[in-house]
């Protein structure tokens, strides 16, 4: 064995041990979704003796995960698309455009990024209740756009601030107005920053729990995480069914993560915490 490998092997060993600690519980849950309850108890981490999709079928129809899935898709799509669009405009305003009161408006937006959902949930709950908007998509969508544009504005403004000046000047000389410069010149350059923002807001919205729990009482309006939480209360003993439900909730975020992990990790390492 070469010296190089002698040095690397213990490192791989340590990395693998800590990786297994992360992976095993998730793996066990994934396998449970394809097994019967009796096999889960006897060999929790093994491959299923006979693979079955029945748990998924049950969760999807009887457990109403088809409804929760639809709700999650609607809420997440609207929140992501509108937040990213609005943040691009407002980030552009901070990063490139003349605007009075920037030094006041910037910390104002920063505040929204730093406060927790708990700080806004009580009045939102009362207002939505008064307006009769509880149990609607709006009650989940609007507050999440509010919080997301706070982070999104800061994120996009740091991109636009650092955009090459010569390019913007050249575009202006060529007769582009500000709107055209944004969409024709800068937006294509902003693709990595935008992708990161899309992925982050997608994750936060898809996984959001407190707001959806508080705003929605009817089963038909629940999003996936809330649906799963109630499902768990109802089917405590039926682990394979719950595992299937859990996989349905987690799968979209894991897929997006695997596809866009470079962008997601960049955002997370930049300290992008949800406010």
């Amino acid at each position: 064995m070469s010296i190089r490998w002698k040095r690397l092997l213990p490192r791989y060993l340590v990395l693998t041990v800590f990786m297994l600690i992360v992976l095993l519980p998730v793996w066990g849950m994934l396998m449970s979704a394809f097994k019967s309850d009796t096999q889960i108890a006897s060999s929790p981490f093994s491959l299923p003796e006979t693979w079955t999709l029945e748990n998924f079928q049950q969760a999807w129809t009887v457990g109403k995960f088809n409804v929760f899935f639809k709700n999650s898709v609607i809420v997440t799509t609207v929140v992501v698309v509108s937040s990213v669009f609005l943040s691009t405009l407002s980030g552009y305003a901070f990063g490139q455009l003349p605007m009075p009161g920037k030094n006041l408006l910037f910390p104002l937006m920063l505040l929204g990024y730093m406060v927790p959902f708990e700080a806004v949930i009580i009045p939102l709950y009362n207002w939505m209740d008064t307006l009769g908007l509880r149990n609607t998509y709006w009650a989940m969508i609007l507050p999440q756009i509010g919080l997301s544009v706070s982070f999104g504005t800061l994120w996009m403004s740091s991109f636009f601030e650092n955009a090459p000046k010569e390019l913007v000047d050249a575009a202006t000389i060529d007769g582009c107005n500000r709107w055209q410069t944004l969409w024709q010149i800068l937006w294509p350059l902003a693709r990595p920053a935008t992708t990161t923002l899309v992925v982050l807001i997608f994750m936060w919205t898809w996984n959001e729990f407190l707001l959806a729990l508080v705003m929605v009482q009817t089963e038909a309006m629940r999003t996936l995480p809330v649906g799963l939480a109630f499902f768990q209360g109802k089917y405590t003993s039926n682990l394979s069914l719950m595992a299937a439900g859990a996989i349905i909730v987690a799968l979209p975020t894991v897929l997006i993560y695997i596809l866009f992990q470079r962008f997601f990790i960049r955002g997370m390492l930049g300290g992008a915490i949800k406010g």
């Binding site: 519980p25 609005l86 407002s90 305003a93 406060v115 768990q232 990790i265």
Partner: protein, 308 residues
């Protein structure tokens, strides 16, 4: 690196004939929705915290600091905030130490295939905390759970517990789920930072006779200052805000042994209609989070200039 370290730079110019108000037009839609659904609610929570109100009745009496005063003599609130502090140990301190230890082991030459590990280490960050709760309720299940099975398999059957149902063990059990979620994040963060420390520093140090431990203390840790700052803010805020995980594992129980502030706000304001009281707790929690963020930002800011 940006995110937590957003800062304002001015210096964009006005083109001839352009209004100096132009930016407002672009900011307005985002600002409006932000004010309406985030900023004004914060102010409203602040205001509500000075009232005694049940949410329905017309009667809403101003009681000044009354809610805050009763908070600090309320054993439930004190219990909740103490539990949040315990969670900081599990969510923040232990993961950061594990992350530093792992990255110390991995300093030096690059590791082929590291991106594969990185992908998996980050996995808990993307999974819904409710799913994490479902997974760990199963892991901790007293009868069929793998943890108790494993203990009996290696002959330590006497250490089996009803983990999440035990007054003694529920808090550390839920806390350790937080450790599981956060340590991979910390490690990846630190390893990314280490790659920016010039290898020559280590070479020079070992020529001067510094051992691996000294190199770690005097080169690695100072070199990772900003990463440690990001890890501290991110994980501490997660520990202070924990709600989803509690809801899907113990709901604060058994008794109030895993009660946390987030859950107490939900219970007081939403379930029991004690709006003012819940608002006061929310304000205290928010102030702690803001103070902590500013403090750590301050501590780390000397080193911070670049943007992601």
């Amino acid at each position: 690196m940006s995110g937590l370290f957003f800062k304002m730079t001015t210096g964009n110019h006005i083109y001839p004939g352009e209004s100096r108000w132009k930016g407002l037009l672009y900011l307005l839609p985002a600002l409006l929705i932000y004010l309406l659904f985030t900023f004004i609610p914060i102010l409203e929570t602040f205001r509500a915290s000075f009232y005694d109100w049940n949410g329905f009745s017309e009667a809403r009496s101003f009681i000044g600091l009354g809610n805050y005063i009763s908070l600090f003599s309320d054993s439930l609130f004190l219990k909740a905030i103490t539990n949040n502090l315990v969670f900081i140990i599990f969510y923040s301190i232990i993961p950061i130490l594990i992350g530093l230890m792992l990255s110390a082991l991995l300093t030096g030459q690059p590791i082929p295939g590291f991106s594969f590990f990185r992908t998996l280490y980050f996995l808990p960050q993307v999974i819904s905390m409710v799913v994490v709760g479902v997974i760990w309720r199963w892991m901790f299940n007293p009868v069929s759970g793998p943890i108790n099975q494993f203990l009996s398999l290696i002959g330590l059957g006497q250490f089996q517990q009803a983990w999440l149902g035990s007054f003694q063990y529920a808090l550390p059990a839920v806390g350790s789920i937080g450790t599981w979620v956060q340590y991979g994040f910390c490690m990846v963060l630190f390893l990314a930072g280490i790659q920016r420390i010039p290898l020559e520093y280590y070479e020079a140090a070992s020529l001067d006779g510094a051992n691996a431990f000294k190199q770690f203390v005097y080169i690695t840790v100072p070199g990772l200052k900003s990463e440690i700052g990001v890890a501290m803010i991110t994980t501490m805020i997660a520990a202070l805000r924990v709600f989803d995980l509690i809801y899907s594992t113990t709901r604060g129980g058994p008794g109030d042994s895993t009660l946390v502030t987030g859950f107490l706000i939900y219970r007081s304001a939403i379930l029991n209609n004690r709006i003012g009281y819940g608002a006061a707790i929310a304000m205290v929690l928010t102030l702690i989070i803001l103070a902590l963020s500013f403090l750590i930002r301050r501590l780390m800011s000397e080193k911070h200039g670049e943007q992601a």
